[in-house]
Amino acid sequence: MPYLYGDSLKCTGCRICELYCSLCHERVLNPKKARLRVVRAEPAIDKPMACRQCADPPCAKVCPTSAITRNEKADIVIVSEPKCIGCGACVEACPFGVIWLHPDRKVAIKCDLCRACVTRCPVDALSVVTSEQFADKKRVDLVSRLKPILMERIPVPRG
């Protein structure tokens, strides 16, 4: 299950992703209509946040009109705008705060994994990953870091 991951170590908080997102989806520039947000927390934290496309999405569970569904073919969680009544139950249910109501149309909007922001992030802070890939990378990084210690345990000939 891929989702949009924002790396807070790389992100500089420029919010170019928010602008491109609103431009691609709404043909205007308006961060409040973007499907992702960069959260700035002082000191020095900038964290892009977007829908994680949960396997068992709580937003879909609480939606009274079944407007939110998990589309297995596309492997993402989708909002059907015609079905959405703008009640905001999904907003309350999402533990990450990454689904919200469109400021004018009052329907739920969220990341649809279109990747317009990913290719345009100037510092490559955004990527589409699966949890499997994430874990893979973490394991490999950790082992590389431990390599000097692990090497000492291997009885290789030392000159």
């Binding site: 170590l9 500089t12 908080g13 420029c14 919010r15 170019i16 602008l19 491109y20 431009l23 691609c24 709404e26 043909r27 205007v28 520039l29 308006n30 961060p31 409040k32 209509k33 700035r40 927390a41 002082e42 000191p43 020095a44 900038d46 400021p103 345009r120 100037p122 510092v123």
Partner: protein
């Protein structure tokens, strides 16, 4: 309701603090066609509303905070807003610019500009939420620094995403070089705009918005912006800026002998490496933090983890390292980082603060200012403890700090005794970190800038280090090689004139001088393309150049009306008569007169007086200023 052009919010917020009222007014489409927005918008509105009888700190002064049509858009580095009023430091045209996220949010909240008039009977702040404005009581905020005020207002609304612009204690206490701060560490620093805001008892402007910035031609727009972004990121300058920010200029300026040291006695500093970009990156950098839509990310956070100068916050730019550091002979980098942090919290221009302290230090070393004047404070060059103590004393106008809060020009006028000779200011404003003897264009640019000493009004930097390609494009190949030689005064009048015209356009559309002036990535055709795609104004290249010239001439006329003439377009005696003692510019002074002659000729200004000619003013559509020209013989 929707505005005629894209890019603009289409509304101006007018605030009458005396009566406690706000008015939403439609933006004048004719005015922005002639002046674009930002700095240009301010130049016209202030010319009409204030003048020689306006006291800078009186209720009759008018303070404008304005964004440009590209602020908040995808143009690289479109994060800028301007703060303008008559200056309490220079008593002439005052303006200061800043980046951050505030300017963009102002537009998302439905306004292009805020015009503030009058004076509130009690401390207040402005709350602007999606097109609606309210004047709110600021009693509990008054007396708090910028960091505290930021936290208090965000807590009041329970919303950390609100964008804030404010003054600290320096503005409240009318320090003549107080800054208007925003987003914690961003400063509209120069010409004392913070004191004007303080005189109006306006503590802060909080904004939040959900409105669109409409795009006139969305189909071309994305493709064009993609191209601009690729071009910006591909520029070799970008990575250097991202890695080091402007502090790396310390080492470069030192190498070319342009790093003002000990109040401009020399341009070479023996501790340059200790206070330079490499040291700061290696020992103190936390991370690069960009302003809105910024691809270059020269903004950054630094921290001193322990000791008396412990802090975490925004990092100083080159100008601060030079003004608070080398100019004061200070090589202790942690004290400079900390003084910068304090200046941000109190809301104070580090250039004028450092310049004023450097002046006092030279007078102290020469025995003209004594411990009796300073209240026992030892002001020898390099004494960083005293310098840091002075930040507090100036912001609160305590003891000797009360005198230094006036700026070096006014302080020297008060104290006398020949201290005037060591004032390194132009039109009463301290020169930033630029020794014109080492780069002649910078000498001229500082002398002609509308807001007093200012390296940024024209920002002539293409003769700094090998930008011959851009020079050929922007000025013409026939002026090479002389125009590109920084120690050669030839063609520098042309360079400064052209740079000023372009720079005011950049500041009127709301983008940054990084990416336009240096690196010279985007020029008129790019700004024009972005402006037309965003606004649909259908401007031509020559329109844009004319707008730039119009704004420079209108700023000039504002100053002419205040009595500014050729005699004021000058430099401190030291830069004109004392040859630079070491480094590449050794033996050089600034050959100001010959450069000024060339500059005035190209400008169409009178050679003797420096006043724009009637023909020039008419050609630029500035007929309304003709009535303010001095009568023949009276100039």
């Amino acid at each position: 309701m929707a505005f005629k052009y894209g890019g603009y919010a289409g509304q101006v917020l007018e605030v009458d603090l005396t009566r406690g009222k706000t008015f939403n007014k439609p933006l004048d489409a004719g005015l922005v066609r002639d002046y674009l927005g930002g700095a240009g918008f301010c130049s016209r509105v202030l010319y009409d509303e204030i003048g020689p009888r306006t006291r800078p700190l009186g209720p009759e002064n008018v303070l404008i905070i304005a964004a440009g049509p590209l602020t908040g858009t995808l143009f690289p580095q479109a994060s800028r807003h301007v703060v303008a009023a008559k200056s309490p430091l220079t008593d002439i045209w005052g303006e200061a610019h800043a980046a951050g996220h505030w300017g963009a949010e102002l537009k998302f909240a439905g306004f292009d500009a805020i015009i503030v008039r009058g004076r509130s009977p009690r401390p207040v702040y402005l709350w602007i939420d999606d097109g609606k404005a309210k004047i709110k009581d600021a009693k509990r905020l008054w007396g708090h620094d910028v960091y505290e005020t930021d936290a208090m207002i965000k807590e009041e609304f329970g919303d950390g995403s609100i964008k804030l612009l404010y003054i600290g204690q320096a503005g409240e206490n009318l320090v003549r070089y107080a800054a208007v701060m925003n987003d914690l560490d961003r400063a509209a620093a120069r010409t004392g705009m913070g004191a004007v805001m303080g005189s109006k008892r306006l503590k802060a402007v909080a904004v939040r918005g959900t409105r669109d910035i409409p795009i006139a031609k969305p189909e071309n727009y994305m493709k064009l912006m993609d191209e601009f972004h690729v071009k910006m990121l591909a520029d070799p300058f970008t990575q250097g800026r991202a890695d080091y920010g402007t502090p790396s200029l310390v080492e470069l300026m030192n190498e070319i002998g342009r790093l003002p040291t000990r109040n401009y006695q020399t341009g070479v500093f023996e501790h340059a490496e200790e206070i330079g970009g490499k040291t700061i990156r290696r020992k103190y950098l936390v991370k690069a933090r960009a302003d809105f839509a910024c691809l270059q990310r020269c903004g950054r956070y630094t921290c001193v983890p322990e000791g008396p100068y412990k802090y975490i916050g925004g990092s100083p730019e080159y100008e601060t390292l030079s003004c608070v550091g080398s100019k004061c002979g200070i090589g202790d980098v942690e004290s400079i980082l900390y003084a910068h942090h304090l200046c941000n919290r109190y809301g104070m221009d580090t250039c004028s603060f450092g310049g004023t302290v450097a002046w006092a230090m030279e007078c102290y070393e020469r025995g003209i200012i004594t411990p009796k004047d300073t209240g026992g404070l030892d002001l020898k060059f390099g004494n960083h403890g005293s310098m840091v103590q002075l930040v507090h004393m100036v912001a609160f106008r305590k003891g000797f700090g009360n005198l230094l809060a006036e700026g070096s020009y006014h302080a020297a006028q008060k104290i006398g005794r020949g201290t005037e000779k060591y004032v390194m200011a132009i039109k009463k404003q301290e020169i930033a970190g630029q020794d014109g003897r080492a780069q002649k264009s910078m000498g001229l640019g500082n002398a002609t800038a509308a807001r007093g000493a200012d390296h940024l009004y024209g920002f002539p930097v293409l003769d700094e280090v090998g930008f011959d390609k851009a020079i050929r494009e922007r000025f013409g190949a026939k002026y090479l090689p002389e125009i590109g030689q920084k120690l050669n005064p030839k063609y520098k009048g042309l360079m400064v004139k052209e740079c000023e015209d372009f720079a005011v356009v950049v500041e009127s559309v709301g983008v940054c001088k990084y990416g336009t002036m240096i690196p010279p990535t985007f020029f008129y055709p790019d700004i024009l393309g972005a402006l037309n795609a965003t606004t649909g104004m259908g401007l031509k290249g020559r329109d844009l150049r004319k707008i730039g010239e119009r704004i420079v001439n209108l700023n000039r006329m504002f100053n002419v009306r205040e009595g500014i003439r050729r005699k004021d377009d000058t430099l401190p005696e030291r830069l004109l008569k004392e040859p630079s003692p070491e480094g590449p510019p050794k033996g050089h002074v600034v050959e100001l007169d010959e450069m000024l002659d060339e500059y005035y000729k190209l400008r169409g200004w009178d050679l003797k007086t420096g006043i724009p000619t009637r023909a020039k003013l008419r050609a630029l559509g500035l007929e309304f200023t003709l009535k303010d020209l001095p009568r023949r013989g009276a100039a």
